[in-house]
């Protein structure tokens, strides 16, 4: 319901265009906001009036096996890739990403681990930059 309300608030800001035709650019988003609102209310009512507690798992997706904090920690390491790639460039940032995730997931700090992370970063550079010829982030310091 909160997402529906926020989305609706953003929908109101869509500018009106004379090129919009019979159905303007805001109509479809407005309908979606309403539908999500209805779905949210239905879910809330269903939970409220359920005779017995409804099981949380209604999805075919396997439930999380990691604690939320641990999972968010991993995402945080992934997010650090963005400033590191901007600062140091592709290969160093990738080395840091592989090494820090390996450590976070239980690898023992060692020369072997460092070599694997360096080899991994170089391998991806070879694959994407040298072989496929597609660009990767470059350091703003260089």
């Amino acid at each position: 319901m909160a997402v529906a309300a926020l989305y609706y608030a953003a929908t109101v800001r869509i500018p009106v265009s004379t090129l919009g035709g019979e159905v303007g650019p805001h109509v479809f988003p407005t309908v979606l906001a309403l539908l999500l609102g209805i779905a949210g209310v239905s879910m809330a009512l269903r939970a409220l009036f359920a005779r017995r507690p409804i099981a949380v798992k209604a999805s075919d997706e396997p439930a999380s096996e990691a604690t939320p904090l641990r999972a968010f920690g991993l995402l945080g390491i992934g997010a650090l890739y963005i400033p590191f790639a901007l600062l140091f460039g592709y290969v160093p940032a990738l080395f840091l990403l592989i090494a820090s995730i390996a450590l976070y997931e239980g690898a023992t700090p060692s020369w072997r681990m460092a070599v694997i992370a360096v080899a991994g970063a170089l391998l991806f550079w070879l694959l994407f930059v040298a072989l496929l010829g597609v660009g990767q982030p470059q350091s703003i310091l260089l």
């Binding site: 919009g20 303007g24 879910m43 999380s64 990691a66 991993l74 990738l94 976070y104 997931e105 970063a121």
Partner: protein, 498 residues
């Protein structure tokens, strides 16, 4: 007969086989890398085609397309990351089989289904180009809108145990699809002043975030012993018995793939989801779907590999590129001064025969290339998990960056990963959301175009027989699923009553 002789001559007097193999391997590599879509794989080859003979240039591009459509299934099965949009439906049962130590079998099924789909698509391309291209022309905006609704109706059976949560997830997906420049009016929507969002949010970002990043988060810190069985690094092609079992799912996939390939804009993603849904509906072992069903891999893989060939029908017949990949192929034709259309078949028959022959070589070579390459992939995903997680994250972030060359997209994928983790936590299914993102633009733009044509009269949807037919099927799907959910709820209630 003359055509067969021409094909044989091409095979023996030109480097056609080598070019087809090169295109295939390049395509598989591109398709297997998340973010490198089939069209990007082909676009990267385009500069090399300038100096090639026109026939070889077209074969190189077409076989890269075939390889990329197949390649998308490899990461979908092994690391829960669809390499292409069309491979999203393969994730469901493919990754589940891999988790249960059956990666070799899952890859074998996808390989075999890729070959079946490729051959069916090629047969349709060679034999039925003319009648099928007429069918493609019969589709109007109303039909496309109805096709989108039909695709969306699949959420009824992809929603797991709660249709309501599935519907909410699909609406969230549709909301994501509205971000960016409105295709009809050019107005920016939900961009919040960010130029990076003007292009919208590509479906692959949502898929990679929901599936791959959330999977890494979910498994973070889990003991290796709890991660599923290790297995031999061997690809197991389906046994004769399994092939017989897969026939129905492959037939469904090929049929839907043929139909969807013809529709410009529909593409392999809708075909894969619809095929998965129909294979489940008609399967004798419905309960296995989502738990590692071989048919759950066979149907979408046959379907999207059929699309790789049938998508060429509107391109070659009328010059209508139905997808980005077809547009790149059109570019390849134009570079060499070849204009698609009926005259292409009359004046450049050798190029068409070369295209068919090269595609046939590529499809048949899939088996050999797959058997050689896939064991390495299985070996890679069986490395110690701490390193594997790091490498998967690195692959995902590198691949995503290549789409628009901006770290902003990396941020979108991480946000999608967080959303996926939360959806999983609260029991929302992913596939309806993915379907919403994929179908949003198709549904909205064609709905609006239809109303522009009719001057705002909704009756136009009832005047189009194709639209009426497709919408009727969609309604049947939804009603059937609602009845099934109601029946199951009643049964569960009776079960717990004293």
């Amino acid at each position: 007969m003359i055509e067969l002789l021409q094909a044989f001559t091409l095979l023996t007097t030109t480097p056609l086989i080598a070019v087809a193999l090169l295109g295939l391997i390049w395509g598989i590599l591109g398709g297997a890398l998340p973010g490198i879509s089939p069209s990007i794989s082909m676009a990267l080859l385009l500069p090399f085609t300038y100096t090639l003979d026109p026939m070889l240039a077209i074969v190189l591009l077409a076989t890269a397309y075939i390889g990329a459509e197949y390649g998308g299934s490899i990461p979908a099965i092994l690391i829960r990351t669809p390499g292409t949009n069309a491979a999203a439906a393969t994730v469901l049962d493919g990754y589940e089989m891999r988790r249960r130590g059956r990666a070799g079998e899952a890859l074998g099924i996808s390989l075999w289904s890729g070959v079946v789909g490729g051959l069916v698509g090629l047969a349709m391309l060679i034999l039925l180009t003319e009648p099928l291209s007429r069918l493609a022309l019969a589709f109007r905006p109303m039909s496309y809108f109805a096709l989108g609704l039909l695709g969306l109706s699949v959420i009824a059976s992809l929603s797991g145990k709660s249709l309501l949560k599935g519907a909410a997830a699909a609406i969230l997906g549709l909301m994501v699809a509205t971000v960016g420049t409105d295709p009809n009016s050019g107005v920016g929507r939900f961009t919040f002043g960010s130029p990076e969002l003007l292009d919208g949010i590509a479906p692959i970002f949502v898929m990679v975030g929901l599936f791959a990043v959330s999977e890494l988060m979910t498994r973070s810190g889990v003991a290796v012993s709890a991660m599923g069985k290790q297995e031999p690094f061997r690809v197991r092609l389906p046994s004769f018995g399994l092939m017989k079992r897969l026939k129905r799912a492959q037939f469904i996939g090929a049929l839907i793939g043929t139909f969807e390939g013809l529709m410009p804009g529909a593409g392999g993603s809708i075909a894969s989801f619809l095929s998965y849904n129909e294979a489940k509906r008609w399967s004798k072992r419905k309960e296995e779907f989502g738990e590692g069903s071989p048919e759950g891999i066979a149907a979408p893989e046959t379907s999207n590999n059929t699309v790789a060939s049938t998508a060429l029908i509107p391109l070659l017949s009328f010059g209508i590129p139905g997808s980005n990949s077809a547009a790149i192929l059109l570019g390849g034709l134009l570079i060499h001064g070849l204009l698609p259309g009926p005259r292409l078949f009359e004046e450049n028959g050798d190029i068409i025969i070369g295209l068919y022959t090269g595609s046939f070589v590529a499809v048949m070579s899939l088996l050999v290339v797959g058997i050689l390459v896939l064991p390495v992939c299985i070996w890679l995903v069986n490395r110690p998990r701490p390193y594997l997680s790091g490498f998967i994250f690195a692959l995902v972030l590198s691949g995503i960056y290549t789409v628009h060359a901006t770290l902003f997209d990396v941020g979108i994928v991480l946000v999608a990963g967080l959303a996926g983790y939360l959806m999983r936590f609260f029991g929302f299914p992913f596939l309806p959301a993915v379907l919403g993102v994929v179908l949003g633009e198709l549904i909205e733009s064609n709905y609006r175009r239809s109303l522009d044509l009719s001057g705002g009269e909704h009756a136009i949807f009832l005047e189009d027989p194709i639209a009426v037919g497709l919408m009727s099927v969609a309604v049947l799907f939804v009603v059937g699923s609602l009845l099934r959910e109601g029946r199951e709820a009643m049964r569960a209630r009776k079960g717990v009553s004293p």
